[in-house]
Amino acid sequence: MNPSSFLIQIPFFPEQASNFALEMDLFYLFLFALTGFFTVLIGVAAIYFLIKYRRRSQGEVPEQIEGHLKLEITWTVIPFLISMVIFAWGAKLYYQMYTPPTDALEIFVTGKQWMWRAQHPDGQREINELHVPLGRRVKLTMTSEDVIHSYYIPAFRTKTDLVPGRYTTSWFTPTKTGTYHLFCAEYCGTQHSGMIGKVMVMEYSDYQAWLRGVPREKSPAEAGEQLFTSLACSNCHLENNSGRGPSLQNLFGKDVKLANGATVKVDETYLRESILNPGAKTVVGYTNDMPTFQGLVTEEQVAMIIQYIKSIGQKQGSGQTATPAPAAPAPAAQEVGRPAAPQTAKPAAPQGD
């Protein structure tokens, strides 16, 4: 029998609809019981002392007690030990929430005053709604186009800020079909309280049907390829490294050496920075001739270009290995690189729990 069923009877919790919800609520109940016990302990002791030792005559002076070292040590050490247990549990849960699985269905989310946009791996978009399949791991990669927002789904117990200028991630496995609230939890201006939406958890087959029903545009990687040409990126980033910029083939997920001697792993954040602020981390052997694309591309377009670069990170054996530093062999690239966007639309088997 699922232990979560009795918790649903308690009206003090939102619905439990993700893999994190049950543990979060048990943690909450544990803390409630613990702090409740100590609050009552202090309260009862205080009330007992207050009544028993009430002043009986105006002239009385009670016997003075300086203190009690053993007692002081006791009520320092015991709360400290208890708090370390709380810390450990909290840190463990945080670690799980902070470490998205690599085989998750990846959805790209942008926040903008005052709406939520989501784009599914095959290019389906939605506004102020998020459709996710039951029992599949879902990873949200998010950023904001203007101010800080926060993507909060109480039923999932997940919340992550969307910070302009960087990518943040959040992940969960929906465990119960239904429609749940989506709130913006970081104050973002006039219509902050209107920046709300719905999260629909659907059976996997219904999710597939829903995906087919949404007018499908190009996949993010295809749209990114088109941008790559129309913004003239392809003029310099030639495949064989003969251009003014480094080749982007087989690049994603690898480490590159920078002009300043440091090494950086090519991930979404690095690519995004290099598009918007090309001079920040120049690759060794190249000068910074690239103009910034700040203001020329939206966050969604940046994400599309990144998806494209990720997709050509997967191609192999096309013979362009004339890189100055010997590139890592293709199999390694496959290990490090994430599955390309079209592949993640068919995620791994549903989770057991």
């Binding site: 909450y28 803390l31 005559s57 009670p62 320092t76 101010v147 800080i148 800020d161 609230h181």
Partner: protein
């Protein structure tokens, strides 16, 4: 003038009737008068912040945003926070009660730098006037946290001038802290060693440390924000090459310790109240004294716990969570010691004691719920919800404001020479305790259910709890308004207090009420620890009278 009654009935000169012109008040160098100047100023700001709170609670009675427009609501909750934090809570106990009591407790004539003390008040008033101008010219809508890039680029309100106002007001805080530290180091009466200091003084020493070390950081932060907003210098906005999370680090580096600027003086007040009202020395004096310093030091190392969901690295989050639990321990130590002080005491239930007990209850709940929020995983769910709103109101209102009111009722006879109605005092303390819990306890449940803070309109399922909260707020309002009347009444008609109405042991009670301008007509010499109730002459007299009757 209200003090006329005192003048007529009091034969000799005291600090209130030594001079009566307006000029003598506005140019006074007397720490007691400066404390009263602050009392008027912060009472005004508390009333103003209270009006904003009333508007918030009225709006939230219904789920639709029907009373105020979204623009208005956002300005109202921002101004509520800014007014209450920067212009009421931070100066409340240190600038009013600290100013009044500290030199008296030290057996000194005044603070170390009386002119600087007066200047601090003027700086505060200049900052406060600028904030009033900000409100009248449209207000600000950024939340009291001023997070960029909303505040630096997107907000269409008076952010720059509000920032400058806070910058200026900060100097009042820095100068007061500096003054207190020098005073405590150099102005102690003969025989008053560090471990003979009342715990109120220890608490103010720890507070002053934070004021002097922390406030410059908020000053730099709001100035940087103003520069970005007016001159487009990229510091925080990523579009200009800045980092918005950098602002959060700088803001909370001050604003978390600022919580201890509000709560530490209140803890100091409570130590005095409990000692006097139980006639016991505070159990574990050294532990209570050093826990104040521990809070001041650890308080600087926990700011990242406001940022568990803001993309700071996972391991950073873990370090901040760990240290946050470390800072919880000194607060727990104080609570246990206060409770133990009552044991085998001689407990009186006068008004200040009712406030002290209300503090104990509310601070325990406020502190315990902090354990929920410092827990990394759980904070992901609770961050930026009403759970946080409830938690910090339990700490800031339930503890800091209650401590201020408790202290005000305790030292009122010393400040004015008059007693207020004891019955009304107790009743209003109980009304505040009940009203407070009814207002803010439902908000813990709201937050756990997922209601985000700073929402002008909300989904209907939260309405019942919001109505409860607003109902509680109206009771709370009665509790806050009552003292205004009976305290004002006491100025004219209150019973004369005498030097030591509570039969307390502190030096401040060994001089007439109200005290003369120079505080003591003799040079006090301290020969024993604080809280030696055997030595209090009023208690000795009462005992002799009882023996005679027997």
């Amino acid at each position: 003038m209200a003090s006329e009654g005192i003048i007529r009935s009091e034969g000799r000169k005291n600090y209130l009737n030594a001079a009566t012109t307006v000029k003598s008040w506005l140019l006074t160098l007397d720490h007691k008068r400066i404390g009263l100047l602050y009392l008027f100023a912060i009472s005004f700001f508390f009333a103003l912040g209270g009006i904003y709170a009333t508007l918030i609670r009225l709006e939230l009675v219904t789920p639709e945003g029907d009373l105020l427009t979204p623009e208005m609501y956002n300005r109202v909750f921002t101004m509520h926070g800014v007014t209450m934090i920067f212009f009421f809570l931070i100066p409340s106990i240190p600038a009013v009660l600290g100013n009044f009591c500290l030199p008296l407790m030290l057996g000194a004539k005044d603070v170390a730098f009386p002119k600087l003390n007066l200047m601090s008040w003027y700086v505060f008033m200049i900052g406060g006037s600028m904030m009033l101008y900000t409100m009248l010219s449209g207000g600000i809508d950024t939340g009291w946290t001023f997070y960029p890039p909303y505040s630096s680029i997107y907000s269409n309100s008076q952010v720059t001038i509000a920032g400058v106002s806070i910058f200026i007001t900060g100097f009042s805080s820095i100068l007061t802290g500096l003054n207190f530290m020098v005073t405590i180091h150099t102005m102690r009466a003969p025989g008053l060693t560090w471990f003979r200091l009342p715990l109120f003084v220890w608490a103010h020493y720890a507070t002053s440390l934070i004021m002097v070390l922390g406030t410059p950081v908020i000053a730099i932060t709001v100035l940087a924000l103003a520069f970005e907003r007016t001159l487009q210098i990229g510091i925080f906005d990523p579009k200009l090459g800045g980092d918005p999370v950098l602002f959060q680090h700088m803001f909370w580096f001050y604003s978390h310790p600022a919580v201890y600027i509000m709560i530490l003086p209140s803890m100091g007040v409570i130590s005095e109240l409990i000692a006097t009202m139980t006639r016991k020395r505070i159990f574990g004096y050294n532990f209570v004294a050093f826990s104040s310093l521990a809070i001041a030091v650890f308080g600087f190392l926990v700011w990242g716990h406001h940022m568990f969901t803001t993309s700071q690295s996972m391991y950073t989050g873990m370090v901040f969570s760990l240290i946050s639990y470390a800072v919880a321990i000194p607060s727990a130590i104080k609570t246990f010691n206060w409770t133990a002080t009552i044991y085998k005491g001689s407990v009186s239930f006068d008004t200040p004691m009712i406030y002290a007990l209300a503090f104990l209850g509310l601070f325990t709940i406020g502190g315990m719920t902090g354990l929920f929020l410092a827990a990394l995983g759980l904070d992901v769910h609770l961050q930026d919800t009403y759970f946080v709103v409830a938690h910090f109101h339990y700490v800031m209102v339930g503890s800091a404001v209650i401590g201020f009111l408790g202290g005000l009722h305790y030292w009122w006879p010393k400040i004015t020479g008059r007693m207020y109605s004891e019955a009304l005092g107790r009743i209003s303390a109980i009304i505040i305790f009940v009203g407070f819990n009814l207002t803010f306890f439902p908000q813990f449940v709201l937050g756990q259910l997922g209601m985000p803070r700073r929402y002008h309109a909300y989904v209907p399922e939260y309405q019942v709890l919001h109505v409860l909260s607003s109902a509680g707020a109206s009771i709370l309002a009665i509790g806050f308004i009552l003292p205004v009347f009976y305290l004002a009444w006491s100025l004219m008609y209150g019973e004369k207090a005498g030097a030591n109405p509570w039969m307390a042991a502190g030096l401040e009670w060994q001089t007439p009420s109200p005290p003369p301008t120079e505080n003591f007509t003799y040079q006090p010499v301290v020969t024993h620890e604080p809280y030696e109730f055997e030595q209090v002459p009023e208690i000795k007299q009462a005992r002799e009278a009882e023996l005679l009757r027997a």
